[in-house]
Symmetry: C2
Subunit: 172 residues, 2 copies
DNA sequence: GGGTGAGTTCAAGAAATATTGAACAGAATA
DNA sequence: TATTCTGTTCAATATTTCTTGAACTCACCC
């Protein structure tokens, strides 16, 4: 709802974490981006940092540069991986995992549709069926109105299902 | 002196509000729908009720059938009107306002894009400009990498701007 | 086995959002 | 003008969602 123009301000005692202005700007952009998508801020921070990082980053580097907790880092990376937005890469002789951002828009959009939108559409299908079973008998007053409106819901639903592949294709 | 017959009006519990199964189902669908869009539940409830109502409903009818507060009702209707999803209709000789749902998908999508998405895209434009101003000098190591990634952000942004009209058109 | 490094889990606390209701404002009646 | 009817505003409260950090698991090394 609302749009709090959050400007990511660098902590003043940030002597420690020190993100560059470029990094801060990119992270800020993604933090605001994921907001629109309904994802938590930490997801945007992590993705933003990886996006603008020339090298793969380890779990600890992410955590300490962003100054977020282990829990958020772990949870955030998990979700980003499930979205296909972040990938673990092999680094020779390293024990830890290293992560890089996936930057193919098609893949990002595909992951978001698969993980976040499609499940909702599916639950919508069930709800719609339930609604249809509650349509009043044709003899009831307004029966036609109800039938029309419920029918329109079905049309919207189908249209939305058709729209998703189009979006994916367009963003290729 | 006669005491007025004080009828204890038992207000509250479902005996009073009683939504039909059909209404409940439709409201449920919209409540879950607006969730995906990042709008509050009450918005979904109000729109759902109006959507499946054969007659325009007054402020008080909405409030009492949904059992939500005056504040939520007022605020919800305000937002729905700003989105173009609800319209006040004239009812002869009535003092109150009466409301109906707008059911043209194109209009709904257009309103959402205009009110919720475009402002974010605009703020993205500003943020992008700020980022570009922080690109390191070409002599810096990784300068090309940064330039590429920031360039890609610009491409994504433009593509998204192009996508919105396509979505609107498709959902006509 | 015992110790250490790396990451996950999840209950509790913090932060962000939504809802409520009482005070208010304006318009239509009386 | 006073009164009632309608709806709005907004500070306080409730609810939801995110983040934290301590306890835990698992794998590796000594």
């Amino acid at each position: 709802m609302e749009m709090p123009q959050t400007q990511l301000i660098l902590e003043s005692d940030a002597s420690e974490s020190s993100l560059t202005a470029l990094e801060t700007g990119v992270i800020d952009l993604f933090v605001n981006g994921v907001r629109v998508l309904g994802l938590p801020k930490s997801i945007g921070e992590i993705y933003g940092l990886l996006y603008i990082s020339p090298e793969p980053l380890s779990f600890d580097e992410i955590l300490s540069r962003l100054q977020i907790s282990k829990g958020s880092t772990s949870q955030g990376l998990k979700i980003l991986r499930s979205l296909g937005a972040v990938r673990a890469v092999y680094v020779a002789g390293a024990r830890r995992d290293y992560f890089v951002a996936e930057t193919e828009l098609k893949k990002l959009v595909g992951g978001f549709i698969r993980e976040e939108l499609s499940p909702h559409l599916d639950s919508g299908t069930e709800r719609l069926e339930s609604i249809q079973s509650h349509l009043p008998d044709a003899s009831e007053p307004d029966a036609q109105f109800f039938k029309d409106r419920v029918g329109k819901l079905g049309t919207w639903h189908k249209r939305t299902e058709l729209l998703l592949p189009i979006i994916r294709k367009f963003l290729t």
